[in-house]
């Protein structure tokens, strides 16, 4: 059994959305209708579905307006995209609008090569009332919204309901704490329902999420939001070590499997019924449903936290759309029109059911495709409920770091060294912190960040 919403329906939804938007949002003086303004949109949505849906958005947008023509250009992974963007800034090849992942936020601001979308929002009093406050809280820096959230996700727990039943666990009550996960995973393996209770890819994003779930900061100076961060914080707190201890203990006891770094491997194991639980982005929900082909029931649950933690929550992940200042102002204005279009309810709903990324705004859930999918697959609600139940504070807003890609990699080194029994959690985190702090110092010095 495949998914009921087919790609064709999805594209139709995206197309209809384009026409609807055409009627609503036009008439901006600086974009005139004579020769169309041509702009490039860079994105990192690879894979068949991602690219197809993006192309459908662009086609719908272009069909809806005579004054602007957008070309979508796939640039590879998020990392590749930021690299190319970095090389293009200051040259004539810089695009008018680009998708950039969450952890590129600080770098994009420091690059001084962007126009905050707040400028456009203020100018035309664009209404953000329908946008999810937790999402805005991530992308607002110093009270200003720099980029428009586009594809947003959180990390959730996926579990195999059939295996839970087999092991005598309640298939409708996913484990929610570190202890419950460990107990369930152990029971799943002991009962013979599976060889692997949980498979967790060594992905630094999970570490960041697990810190935030405990209300702990990743970096100093209020997660780099009160002033530029000068050091990471996880080496001084007990929360970081607690994550690594739990993780390594489960791998050591055989309750958990270490699939290495690529999440593709843990997804494969889960979809093939080789592991009872996995942690991953909500963005892979659609893909897991398709890959597993209905051979077993997939349950979804909140990302775990230690039993005692109370003030924490999830950080929004994913990416946002940035408008670059290197293009003439008519192109910037055209980029803004496109940004508004992709964040409109119809596009967000089409994107949601096609991937699992949840909409950036609430009214997208009223769209017919969203309603239809939610009726059939309630799993699509888990991530957004998780986010909405998260308090907004410095921990759940997520850290801003100019060297975040490197920092994430260093935390992966720390997880790996602990899981493989090479270092104690404290030692691994101290080593990671030393390297990252040095990188932060070089970044702050050469970028003049304060």
């Amino acid at each position: 059994m495949g998914i009921k919403v087919t790609r064709r329906q999805l594209l139709r939804a995206a197309g209809a959305a384009g026409l609807g938007a055409a009627a609503g949002q036009m008439r901006v003086p600086s974009v005139s209708a004579q020769t169309p303004v041509r702009i490039a949109f860079w994105h990192a949505m690879g894979g068949n579905l991602g690219e197809t849906v993006i192309r459908a958005f662009v086609n719908a947008f272009n069909a809806s307006r005579k004054d602007i023509q957008v070309t979508a250009q796939f640039q590879g992974s998020y990392d590749d995209l930021v690299n190319k963007l970095r090389a293009s800034i200051g040259s004539s090849s810089v695009p008018a609008v680009s998708q950039v992942y969450d952890i590129g936020t600080r770098f994009m601001i420091d690059s001084k090569a962007v126009v905050p979308v707040q400028n456009f929002i203020d100018r035309e009093k664009f209404d953000l009332a329908q946008f999810e406050p937790n999402i805005l809280a991530y992308y607002r820096v110093g009270g200003r919204l720099y980029s428009m959230p586009f594809n947003t996700s959180t990390a959730i727990l996926y579990y195999n309901k059939d295996m839970f039943k087999q092991a005598g666990l309640d298939p409708n009550r996913p484990p929610r704490t570190f202890d419950e996960i460990e107990a369930s995973a152990t029971k799943l393996v002991r009962s013979g329902a599976t060889r692997s209770g949980i498979t967790i890819a060594i992905y630094g994003w999970f570490f960041e999420q697990l810190l935030a779930r405990q209300g702990a900061l990743y970096a100093n100076n209020g997660n780099g939001r009160d002033a530029a961060a000068t050091a990471v914080a996880y080496d001084h707190e007990e929360e970081g070590a607690r994550i690594l201890e739990w993780w390594a203990r489960m791998v050591k006891s055989g309750a958990a499997t270490n699939p290495g770094r690529p999440t593709a491997a843990s997804q494969r194991a889960f979809a093939a019924g080789q592991t009872a639980m996995t942690m991953d982005s909500t963005a892979v929900l659609k893909s897991l449903l398709t890959q597993s082909g209905g051979r077993f029931q997939i349950g979804t649950g909140y990302f775990p936290k230690p039993p005692a933690a109370a003030t924490g929550g999830s950080i929004v992940g994913g990416a946002s759309a940035w408008i670059l200042s290197g293009r003439p102002s008519v192109e910037q204005q055209a980029a803004w029109e496109f940004v508004k279009f992709v964040s409109a309810p119809a596009q967000q709903a089409a994107w949601y059911v096609g991937t699992g990324y949840f909409p950036v705004r609430r009214d997208a859930y009223h769209e017919a495709v969203a309603q239809q999918t939610l009726a059939q697959y309630p799993q699509f609600l888990t991530a957004i409920s998780e986010l909405r139940s998260s308090p907004i504070n410095r921990a759940t807003q997520g850290a801003l770091l100019g060297v975040f890609p490197e920092a994430r990699q260093k935390s992966e080194d720390a997880i790996e060294a602990t899981v493989l029994g090479r270092k104690t959690p404290q030692q691994a985190l101290a080593d990671a912190a030393r390297d990252v702090n040095q990188a932060i110092a070089v970044y702050n010095r050469t970028m003049g960040a304060k």
Binding site: D79, N83, R86, A87, I89, G90, F107, S111, S196, T199, I202, T257, N258, P259, G260, R261, P262, A265, R268, A269, A272, Q274, T275, G402, V403, P405, E406, Q409, E412, D413, E416, A417, L420, R422, A439, V442, Y443, R445, T446, M447
Partner: protein, 299 residues
């Protein structure tokens, strides 16, 4: 006197002529090799901004940081080990396949194609194929092991197995090229030479050892040098299979350069690493020419 002048003129003319013929390739080398090399050397002496602009003169600072960092020394070790795992294996496996493919029999073209087809497989495609085979849960290697009641091995996640696993991928992918070169060399061995040895009463092994190997020694040497140069610059398979992990077990130097330059935005540091790699490759190649070329007979 005038004769010498004429000779001098002639040789000057020859030089000009030679330069004219060489000009296109010199130009290409200058633009794509020499100029970047000089700029890279300069870059390695500076701190850089994340945009790659020179920020401040650091002297030997980047080099000092490299020597202090355990990560860099580890990547040197991994690089050398990687070459040791792959280059001899590529020759030892490639030569028998080339010998088999050199037989004259019906349908040999099919075998020749089979033995050399990996030349048409990009390293990225090879890595993706092997990634599936290495998968601890759904991969065929662990499935075969389970049939033999062997342990489940985390091929890419166990620090002891990761480098051999990446090396196996590399050897498999490079076999096609090795077979093609060696087969071409084998076909160039004159039949009279082999027949003469047989008539003199040499056995199979003696013919192989004393006739065939010397005759194809230039090709063996060529494959060895090219494979070493290639392996010291390996990137794609590491990027796809392990991203340098686990715990740095596959963090070969080119991958480490990539991470520093295009991920960590530390261009100065990456440039210094590149200079070290340059010296390393130069040393390896010089060593090969100095030690192994003695056994090569170009006759």
């Amino acid at each position: 006197m005038s004769g010498r002048t004429r000779a001098g003129l002639a040789s000057a003319r020859a030089l000009v002529q030679a330069l004219a013929y060489l000009a296109p390739s010199l130009l290409v080398f200058a633009v794509f090799v020499f100029y970047p090399l000089v700029r890279n050397a300069q870059l390695s002496l500076y701190d850089t901004t994340p945009f790659g602009d020179l920020s401040r003169f650091a002297g030997a600072g980047n080099y000092a940081e490299l020597l202090r960092s355990g990560e860099f020394l580890g990547s040197l070790r991994v690089t050398v080990l990687f070459a040791v795992y792959t280059v001899p294996a590529g020759l030892v496996l490639g030569l028998p396949l080339a010998l088999l493919a050199n037989r004259r029999m019906r349908g040999i073209a099919a075998f020749r194609t089979a033995y050399s087809f990996t030349i048409a497989v990009s390293i990225a495609a090879a890595a993706l194929i092997w990634e599936w085979m290495f998968d601890p849960n759904v991969g065929i290697l662990n499935y075969l092991l389970s049939l033999a009641h062997g342990p489940r091995i985390g091929w890419l996640t166990d620090p002891h197995w990761a480098l051999p696993a990446v090396a196996a991928t590399t050897v498999w992918q490079s076999l096609g090229f090795n077979v093609v070169v060696l087969l071409a060399a084998l076909q160039g061995v004159p039949d009279e030479l082999v027949e003469a040895a047989r008539i003199d009463g040499s056995g199979q092994w003696a013919v192989f050892r004393h006739v065939i190997v010397p005759a194809i020694s230039p090709a063996l040497f060529f494959v060895g040098v090219v494979a070493t140069l290639g392996v010291l610059q390996s990137f794609g398979q590491i990027h796809i299979l392990t991203q340098g992990g686990p715990v740095g077990a596959t963090n070969a130097i080119v991958y480490s350069i990539y991470r520093n330059a295009f991920f960590n935005f530390r261009f100065g540091l990456a440039a210094a690493q590149a200079m070290v790699l340059f010296v390393l490759v130069l040393a390896f190649t010089t060593l090969q020419f100095a030690v192994f070329e003695r056994w090569v007979s170009y006759g």
